[in-house]
Amino acid sequence: MSTFKAKVFVTLKPSILDPQGRTVERALSHLDHGNVSGVRVGKYIELTLSGSRAEVEAQLKDITENVLSNPVMEDARWELSEQQGEELVGA
């Protein structure tokens, strides 16, 4: 049994309005950052899972798709890395 650190990225589907991104983009342009475009704001979730790699991978896929994101309007992807000992803490 190992310990894994997962990072999950949840973004709104490209076709869905991102009011937050739109507002941030406009605010940046008022702050003299007019060269910034395509701002999208999503979620970034870190979690730790223990188990065998195969189990954890299947589980993470399930969690990502069914709990951490709303497939009706969001896309999600994840990264998984095995952790040794104390390294777990910190990003």
Binding site: P19, Q20, T23, V24, A27, H30, L31, V41
Partner: protein, 223 residues
């Protein structure tokens, strides 16, 4: 007391702030749009109202804190002028560095609208002179991100210097040390999550917020 109520896009307690200011401070209280470079001549109180400036996008108060008028508000505060930030106004104050700390999501993650009891911790400020120390007042809250946070040294300093002005009797949002409102070191800038401007008429349930406005008026006279 000449009052300027700052309007950001998305502010929604701007009208309430103006109403209270006109009722209790000065008929001539007026709105100031966020793109203005300066405050009206002779402004004595800047009122940063509640609401959802910029839709609370990114972080509540974050974008408003970076708008043009805030330079003038900072200069006003540095001159010793009074600044009152309520709810979103408090968030704007912390985001702009006029007050220390930050306000994050309520402990239970939900928006909460209800009357709460506040203990007046320091009556030596311009905002609280007409209250008595330890007095418990009823003032409504209406926020989703009112959970006050600052690092331990900052909190210790706030406590030590008497900058914690209002404390929740029954903490609704997880704020450190039950902090509901704080003043700046000089005492001229107050930020608080509860809405005193919603508690100035008996018809609406509580008049306990009046003391704050009365205090301000008194403070101006004794200056």
């Amino acid at each position: 007391m000449k009052t300027a109520v700052i309007q950001f896009p998305g502010s929604n307690c701007d009208g309430d702030a103006l109403h209270a200011a006109q009722l209790l401070l000065d008929q001539g209280a007026q709105f100031v749009w966020h793109t203005e470079a300066g405050l009206p001549q002779g402004t004595e109180l800047v009122f940063l109202p509640g609401g959802f400036s910029y839709g609370d996008h990114l972080r509540s108060g974050a974008i408003a804190a970076r708008s043009p008028i805030m330079q003038a508000v900072k200069a006003h505060a540095e001159r010793g002028g009074f600044v009152l930030g309520v709810c979103n106004g408090f968030q704007v104050l912390t985001e702009s560095g006029l007050l220390p700390g930050a306000l994050s999501r309520n402990r239970d993650l939900h928006f909460l609208c209800r009357p709460v009891h506040l203990r007046v911790e320091n009556t030596g400020t311009a905002f609280t002179g007409t209250y008595t120390k330890g007095q418990v007042i009823e003032v409504p809250i209406a926020h989703g991100e009112g959970n006050y946070y600052a690092d331990p040294e900052t909190v210790a300093r706030l406590e030590g210097e008497g900058q914690v002005v209002f404390r929740y009797v029954d903490n609704p949002n997880g704020s450190l040390n039950d902090i509901a409102g704080i003043v700046s070191e000089r005492g001229n800038v107050l930020g608080m999550m509860p809405h005193p401007e919603r508690a100035v008429e008996a018809l609406l349930g509580s008049e306990d917020g009046r003391g704050l406005f009365d205090s301000l008026k008194g403070a101006l006279v004794s200056r």
